[in-house]
């Protein structure tokens, strides 16, 4: 699986200058290479998707971009300058992010959460807080105004004084986005923004992300929901076992055999998947990613598995199971899954369940 960048130039009309430019990002944890030599660019006014089976290294790659991890090799540039290796400086530079497992400040109010996101754009230190100079009051008033605007943008203005943890799940996700937006970013990284949402909420999130794009903010989004990502993104990159498999528009990615293989296993003729899947499942602690069969990848990498992702599965499966028949996007995949029943005879096939998920 070599990295192919055949679509780098053939993307849908790059609308502006390069916002994010990751070159040769490699992240090793001891002997484990979680991300290997990934190149990715995001242009302004663009929504770029990052997909891949669980454990493919998407979140690790995100953490490399946002300075939570320092990449072992490679560099990340934001608008031409190399990003500093610390989380808060990256935010200061203009990249904001959300988390896969919602990480709000639970015991602060909704408004305070957004105000915390505003931190880097305010410069009032301790002294001005103690002396309460006019500039302090002005800055506070301005920040509150901006925060309320953002809350209106996501539709939570009436709950500004609620505690963040008392919000329902979907609103917590939205609040996390508003908190990220508060730092006036040029690029926002969304880590599974629709995990655990029902179809209506997913559609609302889609609208929200389009609206963010229209504000002039570039978006890089990790998702498992194929329909969501192919509707949304101008460009999609596929990450498998830490390497970028392919990057291109929805059509290119969906029709690529290797992507289908990565998600659903090899076609049945090789008879390989079932043979490969069983040993991989038997040894979930397998460290070298090369031997991990794609269908089984979400078993070993506990770090990457999203608890929130698993929980709502039963509730949503009926929806998504009947949806592919009518929807055209997964049409390519539907036959593929028909092709592989032989391999799905194994008691549980987590990858296919995962792929249908959400």
């Amino acid at each position: 699986m070599t990295t192919t960048t055949k679509t780098a130039g053939a993307t849908t009309a790059p609308t502006g200058e390069t916002v994010l430019d990751a070159r040769g990002v490699t992240m090793r944890f001891g002997g484990l290479t979680a991300v290997r030599d990934v190149n990715l660019t995001v242009n302004s006014g663009e929504i770029v998707g990052l997909i891949g089976p669980n454990g493919a290294g998407k979140t690790t790659f995100f953490n490399c971009l946002t300075g939570l991890y320092v990449p072992t090799e490679g560099e990340v540039r934001y608008k031409g300058t190399v990003l500093p290796p610390t989380s808060y400086k990256v935010t200061d530079a203009g990249i904001a992010r959300t988390f896969q497992n919602i990480r709000l400040f639970h015991n602060m109010t909704v408004l305070e959460n957004v105000l915390v996101g505003r931190h880097t754009r305010m410069k009032q230190g301790l002294w001005s807080a103690l002396l309460r100079l006019p500039s302090f009051k002005k800055a506070e008033a301005e920040a509150s105004k901006r925060a309320m605007e953002l809350l209106e943008f996501i539709g939570l203005q009436d709950k500004a004084q609620h505690l963040a943890k008392n919000l329902p799940y979907g609103e917590q996700r939205k609040l996390e986005i508003a908190r990220a937006l508060a730092s006036d970013p040029g690029l926002i990284l969304l880590d599974e923004p629709t995990a655990g949402m029902n179809p209506q909420e997913t559609r609302a999130a889609e609208e929200l992300i389009f609206a963010i794009r229209d504000m002039g903010i570039a978006v890089l989004v990790i998702e498992h929901d194929m329909r969501f990502i192919f509707n949304l993104c101008d460009r999609v990159a596929v990450l498998v076992q830490g390497q970028k498999l392919i990057e291109g528009d929805s059509q290119t990615v969906q029709s690529d055999e290797r992507v289908i293989a990565a998600y659903l296993g090899e076609p049945v003729e090789a008879d390989a998947p079932s043979a490969e899947a069983t040993p991989a499942e038997a040894t979930p602690a397998e460290a070298t990613p090369a031997t991990d069969a794609a269908p089984a990848t979400d078993a070993p990498e506990a770090e990457e598995t999203d608890e929130a992702d698993e929980a709502p599965e039963p509730a949503e499966d009926p929806e998504t199971d009947e949806a592919p028949a009518s929807d055209e996007t997964p049409a390519d995949e539907a036959p593929a899954s028909d092709e592989t029943p032989a391999s799905e005879d194994t008691p549980h096939d987590p990858a296919s369940g995962k792929e249908n998920d959400a």
């Binding site: 808060y88 992010r97 305070e112 931190h119 009032q124 301790l126 103690l130 506070e140 004084q161 008392n166």
Partner: protein, 611 residues
């Protein structure tokens, strides 16, 4: 174990739950209410009788017509019971007393009345060698309070739904289940039925008057508590104040007062300081002003610690060392004869040196350690606290440079003299004699005002939000652009500086600074363990919490000398109980209250953060 659907016990259980009865079943509701009212009134009356024949019981309860000592406390709870009883009847003019419904408040008032009365009667009997020493008045009051309590407990209340016992459970599980049910209904008996009515709109001058009244009552209670002369009186005070406050809080009056004070927040704080400043004027000699100034020092340091622990969430177990650094720094430049530096700085310079030295030490300790999280930080700060003490012990000229005079400490620190005002001498202000400790009391009050100001203003700002964010989730806070290390260091240094500020005054108040004053844990309050306990006990992250916590933690060991070596044991038990039943502390930050009691029904909104 599956539950069998045709369970005879299960079908029988819901029936008694349907009708509202009291905890005590045999008294009908109307009789019960009358009994409570009668008991309350009778208690009040009997407070004017003699309870014992001999003046040997402290307080001299032998007079007719003039309640004294513990009788006063019984009188207060009796009046409270009677008033709440009248209010629960809906008598005009008393209904404002119970804006959140009368029965729960009445029950607690009757309980308070019973507890303090029987405590008094018991104390008389034990002290004088038997109930025979009671005059008829004592017997009457005991009976009256018992009747009031019985009546109150017989008042009907809404019983919670009782879960039927699973007959297939082991008997231990069944016992636990029954006990749980019993406890649930017991708690429901004292639960308020409604939330407090909103106050009618009043002219703001009326509201301010009410605030002044509340503050006056608080000052009165505090002064009474500080001035209690013997153990029985102080124990009684704890019972009366604790249960009485619970009763008043059940009635909803506290909630209404909180409404008012949060509406006029600045004014309330100013009023509280005024009330505190009046305290020395209520005293005839310096004896209790001494207590007052020590409480203030303790409370100021606790409030500084609250920035570090309550806001930024940095567990600092060596905080008293910063108080020590400030005190030593001030002592060294105070012109004390045993100080190796023969300098005598004016107060403003000394206070800058003290606070500055603490601040520098805070940064020095914080810079390498604040990269640690959680337990590791606690261990390192604990170590620092000890290092400070041992270093001070050793810089005595023999095992180290001669700076601090070793274990002898720096003694004979001269009194402060600010602008010709000698803090060591008694002054006469408007006919009141203001002694040495009262002078320092006023100075400490000023310093506390500074700390309160710093706490409020820093808490409600960009930096304060960053502190709370770090406490909540450090990774997310970093991802929001907060420079975690820097923000934590600011909190740490600020807390240290405030402690140093208090330390400078402490050095002058106590005349002497020795290393043994700055222990991790010890019997005398300003030590790291007690400071942390004051913060946790009072309520983390609140302003008034550490003040209340510090007052209690200082007064209780100070007043209850008889407990001696059991003091720390009792303290530990009290802490465990508090953490079990009120983990958010005495004064709950509304935020924490939501945090710790999420299962109970709580309002989802937070009108205005802070307390």
């Amino acid at each position: 174990m599956t539950t069998i659907s045709e369970n005879p016990k299960a079908s029988a259980a819901p029936e008694p739950a349907a009708e509202a009865t009291g905890l005590i079943g045999f008294i009908p509701a109307t009789a019960a209410r009358a009994l409570t009212l009668g008991g309350g009134v009778l208690t009040v009356v009997s407070c004017f009788l003699a309870w014992t024949w001999t003046p040997r019981f402290p307080g001299d309860l032998t007079y007719y017509g003039s309640p004294a000592g513990l009788q006063m406390q019984v009188l207060v709870t009796g009046v409270l019971t009677a008033l709440f009883a009248l209010s629960s009847y809906g008598v005009r003019g008393t209904r404002w007393l119970t804006p959140a419904g009368g029965d729960a408040a009445l029950k607690l008032a009757a309980l308070a009345n019973f507890a303090i009365t029987w405590f008094t009667v018991g104390a008389i009997s034990i002290q004088l060698g038997g109930p025979v020493n009671l005059e008829p008045g004592g017997a009457v009051v005991a009976l009256a309070s018992l009747l009031a309590l019985l009546g109150a407990l017989a008042l009907p209340f809404e019983r919670p739904k009782v879960l039927p016992v699973d007959p297939e459970d082991t008997s231990w599980d069944q016992f636990k289940h029954r006990a749980g049910n019993g406890w649930a209904s017991f708690r429901a008996a004292f639960a308020t039925t409604g939330t407090a009515r909103r106050l009618p709109t009043m002219h703001s001058s009326v509201e301010i008057l009410i605030i002044a009244g509340v503050l006056a009552i608080a000052l009165g209670v505090f002064t009474y508590g500080v001035g209690t002369e013997y153990d029985e009186l102080f124990l009684g005070f704890l019972i009366t104040a604790g249960l009485g406050f619970a009763a008043v809080s059940k009635s909803g009056l506290v909630a209404q007062a909180t409404q008012l004070t949060s509406k006029h927040q600045n004014l309330s704080i100013a009023g509280a300081f005024t009330a505190a400043a009046l305290f020395p004027f209520t005293q005839t000699d310096d004896q209790y002003a001494t207590l007052g100034v020590y409480i203030l020092i303790f409370a100021t340091v606790a409030l500084g610690l609250n920035i570090v622990v309550g806001l930024a969430g940095l567990l600092d177990l060596g905080y008293v060392a910063f108080l020590g650094v400030g005190a030593y720094a001030a002592a060294l430049v105070s012109g004390a004869p045993s100080s190796p530096f023969g300098v005598h700085f004016p107060f403003w310079a000394a206070i800058l040196v003290g606070a500055g030295a603490s601040l520098v030490f805070g940064v020095l300790i914080g810079a390498p350690t604040l990269r640690l999280r959680g337990d590791y930080l606690a261990i390192v700060t604990l170590g620092f606290g000890e290092i400070f003490r041992i270093a001070v012990m050793n810089t005595d000229g023999t095992s180290g440079p001669d700076i601090t005079n070793g274990s002898n400490g720096i003694s004979s620190i001269p009194n402060l003299n600010i602008l010709g005002f000698d803090f060591g001498a008694a002054h006469s202000i408007a006919g009141f004699t203001i002694g040495r400790f009262a002078n320092y009391f006023f100075l400490m009050l000023l310093i506390m005002a500074v700390v309160v100001l710093v706490f409020r203003r820093s808490g409600d700002s960009r930096i304060g939000r960053a502190w709370v964010a770090i406490r909540e989730d450090e990774t997310a806070a970093l991802a929001m652009g907060i420079n975690g290390f820097r923000v934590k260091l600011i909190a740490f240094a600020l807390g240290a500086g405030l402690a140093g500020l208090a330390g400078t005054v402490q050095a002058h108040v106590t005349y002497t600074v020795t290393p043994e004053q700055y222990l991790f844990a010890g019997p005398i309050p300003p030590n790291s363990a007690f400071l942390l306990a004051a913060v946790v006990l009072g309520g983390m992250g609140t302003m008034s919490g550490p003040l209340v916590g510090a007052s209690l933690l200082f007064l209780i060991p100070n007043k209850l000398q008889f407990m001696g070596e059991y003091q720390l044991f009792a303290f530990g038990v009290a802490l465990i109980l508090l953490m079990r039943f009120r983990p958010e502390g005495i004064i709950a930050n509304r935020r924490n209250q939501l945090e710790f009691h999420e299962k109970d029904e709580t309002p989802a909104t937070l009108a205005k953060a802070g307390a």
